[in-house]
Symmetry: C2
Subunit: 266 residues, 2 copies
């Protein structure tokens, strides 16, 4: 049974695709067979990153790790209920296919509440929600009282996860491990950072996720997109590491360790 | 005839809602009557920012500028074609209502290709596309050759804008003024910044937008979300300005000037 990891957050630009790509690199480096699905059917950022990687490998004659990918189409049926039934079949088939040959399946979700995204959230053994260090992003997890800072109640993305958990429980599957990580953290902005950090810690207990070490804002996390490379590939590519790269690599290691994935070192 | 300004970018987290809010504050300060629509029907970040502003004004007994808001519902009809026809009616009614009483209409779009978003793009007199300083974000505007840096062709969001332009031309409306602005710019990362900047300048001529001054990454653009305030409100609130605030205010001024909006000073 492959372990399904989903990157999800209805909030756009929180770092789902970036996290999916770097997790893929980390897991593949340990020799595991990884399957991948990209449910952001129009942008396909995660699959674009992987296509770029494949093209770079071909161009340079190198042997870079790649996942087994299955792309999905949106249903074109006019009736909404029939369209969802069709998508449910396609999604289930894709998971079954990857499950047969992979130890991990990485599914990147769109910044939207699509039906495929809902299916992925219910299929996740590990659900990873990256979030910007921002009260604007936080607003999709929970409403906060502007005067006291107290959490007033869950917001639309928390509710979406809750629905997925109910579906999962109804199907008799073990509970999802929901982890939230802060992304694009600044080294400054101490006050806003602490405010968001405290809010995320309090909310963790209330809505049932755990907070894990995340990523700083570092251009190394995005500047090699066109070649499909991550900083984990750099040593093999013969690059010298800067201090920022060493710190970035530690951030990835800390995340992987905190995820407690089955069979993984660190 | 109200001047319609749309913040659009299918890429999530590019800064559409942040730009919409700060533009609202800048336009309202000049005494214009502003209408607003938020087409991100689930997240409604722009409307949440405005609700927070309204609540803050009530709490503190202040008189803060607010736009005339019209919220839309998604159609619940099961047939896709009928649902779009219904949404088209609701959208057109909302625009007509705001047009009757406002000089500017601000429409914030979701990070997705929804039908309402397509209608907004065709209705825009000014279309503002914020974008992160990132080749990952750039990928939704155009494909780039990883070796030469040349633009290979338009990508899904450019195509969406092109479709909207055709609809607009077919309706006999004057051409949209499409402006792109860089958002969340870092003061460092010189090489990646130049690479993305050059790419955006070359693409401007090819797909028909103009590049305008954008925003740096500054926590002031997001830390007052819970009170619905922007830095433009701070002087009235009795705050002292830091160097970063002065620079941020200049960024907003430079953007407003570059937009060449009808009837506006600066
Ligand atoms: N830790 C980081 N450091 C630097 N840049 C980052 C980091 N994480 C993400 N980015 C950049 O931020 C932007 C958004 O990231 P990404 O595309 O991974 O988010 P997403 O949640 O997948 O967005 P969407 O909702 O559109 O799918 C991209 O330009 C990406 O390159
Ligand atoms: N110039 C800026 N400086 C600091 N933070 C910013 C800036 N612009 C945007 N942000 C933050 O970046 C995140 C994304 O911004 P925003 O929500 O405005 O983007 P969006 O395009 O509306 O996203 P979505 O696609 O989800 O609608 C938010 O956390 C916001 O507070
Ligand atoms: Mg993504
Ligand atoms: Mg938004």
């Amino acid at each position: 049974m492959a372990h399904v990891i989903v990157t999800g957050n209805e909030k756009g630009g929180s770092g789902k695709s970036t996290t999916a790509m770097h997790l893929f690199a980390a897991i593949a480096r340990q020799g595991f067979r990884v399957g991948a699905m990209d449910l952001d059917l129009r942008q396909t950022t995660f699959f674009r990153y992987l296509e770029n990687r494949e093209a770079f490998a071909r161009r340079t004659g190198q042997d870079l790790s790649l996942p087994e990918r299955i792309g999905l189409q949106p249903s074109t049926l006019r009736d909404r209920v029939e369209a969802e039934a069709e998508e449910e079949r396609w999604f289930t088939q894709a998971i079954a296919t990857l499950d047969a040959s992979c130890e991990f399946i990485l599914i990147d979700c769109p910044g939207a509440d699509s039906f495929y995204s809902q299916m992925a959230h219910a299929s996740a053994d590990t659900l990873i929600t990256p979030i910007n260090d921002s009260l604007v992003d936080f607003d999709l997890l929970a409403r906060m009282d502007p005067e006291t800072g107290r959490v007033l109640g869950p917001s639309i993305y928390s509710e979406m996860v809750w629905q997925a958990r109910r579906l999962r429980a109804g199907a008799g599957l073990k509970p999802v491990d929901w982890v939230v990580l802060r992304n694009r953290m600044s080294h400054i902005d101490a006050r806003n950072k602490r405010k968001v950090g405290d809010a995320l810690e309090h909310l963790a207990r209330r809505i049932g996720y755990r907070l894990v070490p995340g990523f700083s804002e570092r251009v190394i996390f995005r500047e090699m997109f066109l070649n499909g490379l991550t900083l984990l590939d750099l040593r093999d590519q013969g690059f010298a590491f800067s201090m920022s790269h060493v710190a970035a690599r530690q951030e990835i290691r800390d995340l992987v360790r905190a995820l407690n994935l089955p069979g993984m070192a660190e």
